[in-house]
């Protein structure tokens, strides 16, 4: 995707989030020294003092939840050749979008009291504000996928985003389907690529990687009915990460 003459310069930027996806990068302990042979990190507030406004690839973590974040995000878009939406917060709104269930005025009143000057707007993923080139989904992003995307970008290839349901991963992992145990799961319509790790570790898929491009919802409804679960249960799971069957996003103009 980007033929590069010099060592590619990469910036990590963080908006409203838990910074877990950046930490995921720092957690590639074995690969880090090798990766650093091939790239130059020029902006990573959490881990380094130096900053530079000259970079080709921007990994953007976090969602947009304050007006003042919008111009900062646009500046990153203007500088970088490739913008990567890094993690659920940035790709779907993530957990942060749970606050959108409440009117902003009520939120501020509930949390800061009447005289709060805090600026908060409904949470949106970054592609509501700027065009995004590459998505790495998940909360947090899987280490494997992060490394694969990074490698593809360095080789000038267009990274592929998985577009099969988590169930495919789940079968490969040899799990017993949780529907058999009477629990609900959004794996059938959630984007795979995570090895269905939540099912392997005793839970269900909560839908953190967002919905696949064309979800087979009617089949999912059938499964639900078969196991006596309601659609409401499933929508509830999806609302955890800001994605639903239909994309309904608040609009922001600056």
């Amino acid at each position: 995707m980007i033929p590069l003459e010099r060592k590619p310069r990469i910036g990590f930027f963080s908006f409203t989030c838990c910074e877990g996806c950046q930490l995921m990068f720092l957690s590639c302990e074995e690969e880090l020294p090798g990766i650093l042979e091939h790239i130059e990190i020029v902006n990573f507030r959490e881990a380094m003092t130096e900053r530079s406004e000259d970079y080709e690839i921007a990994f953007v973590e976090g969602s947009i939840s304050r007006k003042e974040e919008i111009p900062k995000l646009k500046r990153i878009r203007d500088t970088a050749r490739v913008v990567v939406a890094f993690g659920a917060c940035s790709s779907t709104g993530g957990i942060n979008a749970l606050k959108n269930r409440f009117p902003m005025d009520e939120l501020k009143r509930l949390v800061y009291g009447k005289k709060s000057p805090v600026d908060t707007i409904p949470v949106v993923p970054i592609d509501s504000i700027i065009p995004v080139d590459v998505y790495i989904h998940g909360c947090p992003v899987p280490e494997k996928e992060l490394l694969r995307v990074l490698k593809d970008l360095l080789l000038g290839k267009t990274p592929r985003i998985p577009n099969y349901p988590v169930c495919t991963d789940c079968k490969m992992a040899g799990n017993i389907c949780v529907f058999e145990k009477g629990m609900g799961c959004v794996g059938p319509v959630t984007r795979g690529g995570c090895d269905a790790i939540c099912v392997s570790y005793g839970c269900v898929c909560w839908g953190c990687r967002g919905v696949v491009d064309d979800p087979n919802i009617s089949a999912h409804r059938g499964t639900l009915r078969k196991y006596g679960l309601t659609e409401e249960d499933i929508l509830r799971s999806f609302s955890l990460y800001g994605s639903g069957y239909e994309k309904k996003r608040p609009e922001h103009k600056d």
Binding site: C17, L36, A47, R66, K99, L110, V118, S200, Y201
Partner: protein
């Protein structure tokens, strides 16, 4: 060329402090040799977790609250689970308690090493990050990377991953590690001590600045163990404190320049975190940690905030030994999957644990349908805001003979010693229990 300390005017403003978790600024104003203003401003975007949780089901709470912070996700999950379980009358098995404690040991070590090696040590060798150290000080950089990896593996084996653990669930732990995985972990953990020893040597060769100011320390305390999952809150000032009276004794208040609340005890500002735990619980340290304590020449009680770095290293020894003990106990037990305990009631519940950066408080009100109605949390960095500012005042007045750039740098080193976790600190601002 020493500067005249008594007459010095100095305004220092550090925007977006680097090598800390989250977004914060520091402002120090000196006029005629006196610090007039010292502020630690939290500018992180508020995320409204207390509202986000409202109306959600009890078994989603730990999942949501984990996302307050990527570094101390296991601690937030554990405090959340304890609060849910106390509200709903669930008790968990010995196996589940041991697994949760093991995951917490992993998180303590990984968070401390991230701070010591990635965030603090670069200051000691005039580097801006760990990256140049890989070339200039390969041994210490590799030691950090290796210990952090093994610590992450602990959480991976127990909970699936260290950032946002999966299997820690209301009523227990819903995944059982294989004994072979535990044996494998044990082998790797035994190998960590040499890397930690090397770090001790490094800190002895590269001293931090020093500044002493007496203060109150608050942490958990538990009979017979260095409490991080079990225990009751304890103050070094000796006044009575416990889980149910915590919010009576510790008050939070809002300041206009910060999106995080500050906390004050009846005695004033107090410090939480590794140094507080060490001062309050030194007798319960395990053997190798005690040895590290004396090698690092830490005198207890230590009122030097820079020693928080060293206290974290001592704790790395302790939690490695602790993890080894827990693994041995688990290996002697019959380990099998257990269904999580079912709720037996509803109401209000409190969960307190020690996060890497200090004591962490979650309190929920859950209704008859298992839906969360109200939430309050008190986060370590919110509690450390006052001592950070008080130390800034005191410390800066002792270094006014230094050039401006050096003062600025020393201020950063001081704030970093607290290992502030700013993402955490902004998410809870309200105490609305009625």
């Amino acid at each position: 060329m020493a500067l005249d300390m008594k007459r010095r005017d100095l305004n220092i403003r550090i925007e977006e402090l680097t090598r800390v978790e989250g977004h914060g600024n520091v402002v120090v104003d000196v006029s005629r040799g006196r610090v007039k203003e010292a502020r630690f401003e939290v500018v992180e975007s508020p995320r409204f977790f207390e509202v986000m949780l409202r109306g959600r089901r009890y078994d989603e709470a730990q999942h949501i609250m984990s996302r307050i912070c990527g570094i101390c996700a296991v601690s937030h999950t554990s405090a959340s689970l304890k609060a849910i379980e106390s509200a709903m009358g669930m008790s968990i098995s010995r196996r589940s308690t041991l697994l949760r404690k093991l995951a917490m040991c992993g998180e303590m070590i990984q968070s401390h090493i991230l701070h010591i090696h990635f965030l603090a040590i670069p200051d000691l060798v005039n580097a801006g990050s760990i990256i140049p150290l890989i070339k200039t000080h390969p041994e210490i950089a590799r030691a950090g990377l290796h210990v952090k990896k093994i610590a992450n593996d602990i959480c991976r084996v127990v909970a699936g991953r260290h950032i946002h653990p999966i299997s820690l669930f209301p009523g227990g732990v819903v995944h059982t590690p294989e004994k072979d995985e535990l044996r494998n972990l044990k082998r790797h953990l035994q190998g960590l001590f040499e890397h930690l020893d090397l770090t001790v040597e490094f800190l002895l060769d590269h001293p931090f600045p020093s500044y002493t100011r007496p203060r109150e320390f608050i942490s958990l305390k538990m009979r017979g163990e260095y409490g991080i999952y079990n225990g009751e809150p304890f103050s070094s000032m000796g006044y009575p404190l416990n889980t149910t009276t915590y919010t009576k004794r510790i008050k939070e208040f809002v300041v206009p320049y910060s999106t995080a609340k500050k906390a004050r005890s009846k005695a004033g500002g107090f410090m939480v975190g590794a140094l507080a735990r060490l001062n309050n619980n030194v007798r319960n340290l395990r053997a190798r940690a005690k040895k590290a304590l004396s090698r690092l020449k830490i005198k207890i009680p230590s009122y030097n905030p820079f020693m928080n770095n060293h206290a974290q290293l001592v704790e790395c020894f302790h939690f490695t030994e602790e993890a080894l003990c827990i693994i041995d106990t688990l290996l002697d037990m019959e380990l099998k999957d257990e269904p999580p305990a079912k709720p037996r009631g509803y109401g209000r519940g409190i969960g307190i644990v020690e996060a890497p950066r200090g004591i962490l408080y979650h309190e929920y009100r859950i209704n008859r349908d298992g839906i969360i109605e109200d939430v309050n949390c008190i986060i370590p960095t919110a509690q450390n805001q006052i001592p950070i500012e008080e130390d800034l005042r005191g410390f800066v007045e002792t270094i006014l003979d230094r050039p401006r750039e050096e003062v600025r740098w020393l201020i950063e080193v001081l704030v970093r010693a607290y290992d502030p976790c700013i993402s955490c600190s902004t998410h809870m601002m309200d105490v609305t229990f009625v």
